[in-house]
Symmetry: C2
Subunit: 226 residues, 2 copies
DNA sequence: AGGCTAAGCGGACCGTGGTCCAGTTTCATT
DNA sequence: AATGAAACTGGACCACGGTCCGCTTAGCCT
């Protein structure tokens, strides 16, 4: 299996490393047919790079994903990798993009309790569990893809999740500072934290799950006995 | 002003980069007279390095703190910097060490409401505010000193803070999973998050402060009107 | 004082992320 | 089909973090 040829951000020319990267664009999740306008050769190379990266991960773990190694494995110049993905983080993120889109689609338009239709509290609870397990599955990659501190929270995909949480929160506790509260909730689902708790502190996943339910209950002032 | 000549971890020989770094040692905060046994020349160089690093920060910002630059500025070999501080992170952390110890001393043995004497809830509230403002003061350095994701939570100084929070929580909500809850609370004080909220989202500090009080109130099931 | 040894030193060396730009390819236009 | 410009390519190049190892030196022991 190889990672789909989709990505969340098209990189402008090159000269300038462009900061804003692109707005969240919550609404067109499953629509965009890959990179809209990408020259044929560019698209081909992109696919080869992603495939090569995936192969390298499978063989040598995330640490084996060196920009040079990927370029070599895809029989492409190093510059091309950087042009396409911006930096190492961009490449790793692209690898995660498929599942990120999946998750987004699930809670935006999927079946309840994750998707619309269930009461907000239910959705919020389900959301945390979903994120928790998704992260747990791809921990290494998630960890390695973590950008430098300053950008951790501004990444579009992270923003999208947080915005969704804020939206749910507003329906549950309209009087609270939901922006802030949503940040806290998201912070408690940080892959690095999950890694620490499960791998370094030895907590089982079900404890994190209970923790999430408890946390949500406390923050929203609802009841929960677990 | 230059950063005091203290540091939280003595580095073993060199050959092995030693993982465990050192236990939290919560109790001897103000006691240790700097590095206990350090050869005269080593101690001198250490001081010169810290001073040089501080100077570089003042002049060129954190980004200017290159290991080579520091070595050169201190008129010392590059290898010496690494031997003394392990890596760039260690150096940056050493720069922060003074204020970290200060904070620790304050909540372990200082006057209420931070120190013992005040009711736990009071202390917890004060604790968050203290951490908040301390981080805000040294944001750049705190950000730059943030280690790779996997170690973020295992750093002794972070552990110490979290343990303290857990202790307070146990007194306030004995039936809760205080370990987990304390992680959440600490996560909401993450320097990277503070940076994001204040510098990128433009939130004023007082809003974060209110947010903390509100968060504590909700988590502990106590009242608060702000 | 002299000598012994572990601790400390320093700078050459390496790998990796990231940049640059001259040359090449694609493709819309005619 | 020819053409021109925008987009893409590739590999030489750079800076920085980090390692290694032969040499020096502090500080103890006699």
């Amino acid at each position: 299996m190889l990672y789909a040829v989709v990505m969340s951000s098209a990189l402008p020319p090159f000269p300038k490393p462009q900061e804003p990267l692109e707005p969240p664009r919550l609404l067109e999740v499953e629509s965009a047919p890959d990179e809209p306008c990408l020259r044929a050769d560019a698209a081909r190379n992109r696919a080869r790079l992603l495939e090569a990266a995936a192969r390298l991960i499978a063989e040598h773990g995330v640490a084996g994903v060196t920009m040079e190694a990927v370029a070599a494995a895809a029989q492409v110049g190093k510059g091309t990798v950087f042009r396409r993905f911006g930096d190492r983080n961009g490449l790793l993120t692209a690898l995660l993009d498929h599942s990120a889109r999946q998750l987004q689609a699930d809670f935006l338009g999927g079946p309840p309790p994750l998707g619309p239709g269930a009461p907000p509290l239910e959705r919020l609870r389900a959301f945390g569990v979903a994120v928790l397990y998704r992260s747990a599955e791809q921990l290494d990659l998630q960890l390695a893809a973590q950008p430098e501190p300053a950008r951790r929270f501004s990444h579009p995909s992270v923003q999208a999740l947080r915005t969704h949480v804020a939206m749910l929160l507003r329906q549950i506790v309209p009087t609270a500072d939901c922006e802030l509260l949503s940040q806290t909730l998201m912070a408690s689902l940080d892959p690095a934290l999950i890694h620490h708790l499960t791998r370094q502190c030895g907590m089982p996943m079900h404890r994190l799950e209970s923790g999430w339910h408890d946390l949500v209950a406390r923050l929203t002032g609802t009841e929960w006995s677990g």
